[in-house]
């Protein structure tokens, strides 16, 4: 959870600001986080890599504008989301229907708990596929919100701050996504048991 700062905590603020000076450390710490958020939003790994690089470049060039009010992570995700939004404005909706998150396949070799039985691996894979199918039906903004909540475990207010969306919009996106996942996973479970 984001640490809320008050005026009496200038040390944390200073630490956060100085974190931006070490660009190599910044990239090493947050590269995977920014990349996965952007990749799930864009549905294309090449675009995600390009935006991730632009994100770090912008963060470094504009580091004087960072006041340390939010975490470096939130600030980076804010920059990344703005870049995603700018990039998606230039794309037609047809592109999104075709993209279908093919480049981001978390089901292939990244299943958790590798020690579990082959049957549970199969079921886990089935559930992940349902999540990916659900994500493919969502808009880039909805996917971003979903990933920020369920992968980055950010609070709803933090997501609203990072994306510039109203809190009600964040909730609506999440409710829709959760309902789709619940329905799909439930249907798949029924099919397996029948």
């Amino acid at each position: 959870m984001e640490q809320v700062l008050s005026i009496s905590q200038p040390v944390i603020r200073e630490d956060r600001i100085s974190e931006l000076e070490d660009i190599d450390g910044l990239v090493a710490r947050y590269r995977a986080k920014v990349l996965r958020t952007v990749a799930f939003s864009m549905g294309d790994l090449d675009d995600a890599a390009s935006i991730t690089q632009d994100c770090f470049l912008q963060a470094y060039v504009n580091r004087a504008q960072y006041r340390g009010d939010c975490s470096v992570s939130t600030w980076l995700l804010q920059i990344a989301y703005n870049l995603v939004r700018d990039r998606t404005k230039t794309r037609k909706s047809q592109f999104w229907r075709q993209a279908r998150l093919q480049a981001v396949d978390v089901t292939a070799a990244h299943l958790p708990s590798a020690a579990s039985s082959s049957e549970s691996q199969l079921l886990a894979r089935e559930r992940l596929e349902q999540v990916m199918t659900t994500l493919a039906d969502l808009s880039p903004s909805q996917r971003t919100v979903f990933v920020l909540r369920f992968v980055e475990e950010m609070e709803l207010t933090e997501i609203a701050a990072a994306t510039g969306m109203a809190l009600a919009t964040v909730k609506t996106h999440l409710y829709r996504a959760i309902d789709h996942v619940r329905t799909r996973v439930g249907d798949a479970k029924k099919e397996v048991s029948e």
Binding site: E21, I23, D24, V27, R31, A32, K33, L35, R36, A39, F40, L45, D46, A48, A49, T52, Q53, F56, L57, Y60, V61, V104, D105, V106, T107, A109, H110, L111, P112, A124, R127, L128, Q130, V131, V147, R149, F150, V151, E153, L156, L174, Y175, I178, D179, V181, R182, V185, G186, K189
Partner: protein
Amino acid sequence: MIAHLKPEQSSDLVLGSADKETLAHLAACPQCQAEIETLQQTLAEFRTAAINWSADAAQRVSLPKVLPGAQQKKLLAFPAWARPAWALTAAAVVLAVVLPFAIRRQQRRGAASDAQAQIARDNQLLAHIDSEIGETTPTPMQPLQMTLQTAQ
């Protein structure tokens, strides 16, 4: 028939914002418990898989290295030799924008003086026509008029 959790209540449970009524139903309903458990398990698996995937992907894709501070500034700033060239380019752009407007304005002025001369010529012609119409006998008929007068 038992009323199970509504979709919004399931979402509230997953987001940790469920009310007392929702929590009470969950505690008493094995079917809803199983559904929420599967949903939470799925989301947790997705989180682990996404983090594992991104750790691999971040290594696989080549993110061009961001330059350190001094080099970055140097890259973004105009080199000394380019500054006069930049000023000349800016001047050329200003000329390219301003010059067509100046030429068009000059042309408009010329066109205005031409129009005044045309109006003067038209007025002269109209005055001549008026004087012609004002005479009782038109100019081409004047010799006939004179012949008739002589005959009388």
